[in-house]
């Protein structure tokens, strides 16, 4: 059984068309079909948040989304954060480096995508709001304090002067 489906997805501004099995998750589509390995896959059932990507402007688990469900959608992955012209890291990425918001880095792409949505919707979040927005991302290295510091730093740098 299982008939493949043709899907068209725009990922980081680039249109892709592929024939996929219905059971292929978006995370697998990104990593194996498009060779975008930045989206990390931890638990594969929606707990850890490492695979978070932006789908039509909202952050979601790419492991809890089927590739066929994003037919026609705009997806942004961690690879799409970098400035396309200059290649410079996104201010959120730079803040995670500067504030030591990562150690092994496995969970970082997911944290970056959650932070991207948070700071877009709420440019000056309180610590409680940061904790709430990042509550669905697990990190086993940092103890989270440096991640909070990184988000605060990113928010400060992204503030319009």
């Amino acid at each position: 059984m299982s008939t493949t489906q043709r899907i068209r997805v725009t990922v980081n501004g680039e249109a892709h068309e592929r024939e996929v099995e219905p059971r292929l998750t978006l995370s697998e589509f990104l990593r194996h079909e498009l060779r975008l390995g930045g989206t990390h896959v931890g638990c594969e059932h929606g707990i850890c948040g490492a695979c978070n990507v932006m789908i039509d402007g909202r952050v979601a688990r790419s492991c809890l989304t089927l590739a066929v469900q994003v037919d026609g959608a705009q997806v942004t992955t961690v690879e799409g954060l970098r400035d396309r012209e200059t290649g410079a890291l996104h201010p959120i990425q730079q803040a995670f480096i500067d504030a030591h918001g990562l150690q092994c880095g496995f969970c970082t792409p997911g944290f970056l995508m959650s932070t991207l949505e948070l700071l877009r919707d709420n440019p000056a979040p309180s610590d409680d709001q940061i904790r709430h927005a990042l509550g669905g991302n697990l990190c086993r290295c940092t103890g989270y304090q440096s991640i909070l510091a990184a988000v605060r730093l990113a928010a400060a740098r992204l503030q319009p002067h």
Binding site: P22, R61, V68, G136
Partner: protein
């Protein structure tokens, strides 16, 4: 790929979706409807569910509508929890449903997870069924024989089971706007924020003539479905809003529960204790809100 293989269809009208369900039911195909997929996908990944066919509702127009109609708030089944959470209508006019929505999982799950999906999934630890019992919500289902409206009290049958027929689609949920002067509260205990609740309680009540009236209480996470706590309601109605009364009503509610579920995280006895404690806290907060709302 973790899920077992399945076929996938995304019909573009409700009529087409209903016809597909009827056809595959006749043919004996194991079909599952997918909405936001935030509960179904883990079940597929763990192969707890192994449907032969998924029917996706995402292309069907109108299922993402959210509006007020004749004193009721109507939420289309495909409205995401994030949309419900961001809706000023729900926040201002039905704060209990709003607060319940914010307790569901994490933001990234609420971004995709649908309101209707949670009702159809009927997890015993879900906040929505308890809120549905407290608010007398109604579910609209559409099947090949037409549509019907199912009251919350008849909708949830047991663990992960509703009274929806396999050929019916839940298209919307409806709830009354909260009347002015109503006090409300919802509280739960989970091991981490965003986890499913070990136990939770939702309450609405009104104050009048110095006593509590029209109390509605329900618990979730303790029995195969959410349950009305009628013993607690009866112990509170007609009594003054007093901490000693709250404690008595909460104890009555907890004592009357059928044997709560037990798991490695929470024994049956502990869940009963949580219902008592949460009910007591909910009643105090609901009374405070009712007083503030009346003032």
């Amino acid at each position: 790929m973790k899920p077992a293989a399945f076929d996938y269809l995304a019909p573009s009208t409700l009529a087409e979706a209903v016809a597909l369900l009827a056809r595959y039911e006749r043919e004996g195909t194991d079909v599952k409807i997918i909405a936001g997929g935030q509960s179904l996908m883990p079940m597929l990944a763990m192969r707890v569910a192994r449907p032969e066919l998924l029917i996706d509702l995402r292309r069907i127009p109108g299922l993402d509508a959210l509006h007020e109609e004749a004193g009721q708030i109507v939420i289309g089944a495909m409205v995401s929890k994030r949309c419900a959470e961001d809706s000023a209508l729900i926040r201002d006019r039905q704060p209990l449903f709003h607060a319940a929505t914010q307790l569901v999982a994490h933001l990234q799950i609420r971004n995709r997870g649908s309101v209707g999906g949670s009702f159809a999934h009927a997890d015993p630890a879900s906040e929505y069924p308890a809120v549905a019992l407290v608010l007398d919500m109604e579910m609209k289902a559409v099947g090949s024989a037409g549509e019907r409206v199912i009251p919350a009290a008849d909708f949830f049958v047991t663990y992960m089971t509703t009274s929806l027929a396999p050929t019916e689609i839940l298209t919307e949920v409806r709830m009354p706007v909260m009347p002015a002067g109503t006090g409300w509260a919802i509280k739960e205990i989970s091991r981490r924020r965003g986890d499913l609740a070990l136990a939770g309680v939702a309450v609405t009540l009104r104050l009048g003539g110095g006593v509590c009236r029209e109390t509605r209480m329900a618990a979730f996470g303790v029995n195969p479905t959410a349950v009305r706590l009628t013993a607690g309601e009866d112990a509170l109605n007609g009594q003054p809003p007093d901490p000693a009364v709250f404690a008595r009503a909460a104890a009555a509610a907890a004592n009357a529960l059928h044997e709560p579920m037990s798991c490695i995280h929470a024994s049956s006895e502990y869940r009963r204790h949580l219902v008592k404690t949460l009910a007591e806290r909910c009643l105090a907060q609901a009374v405070e809100r009712a007083g503030r709302s009346a003032a």
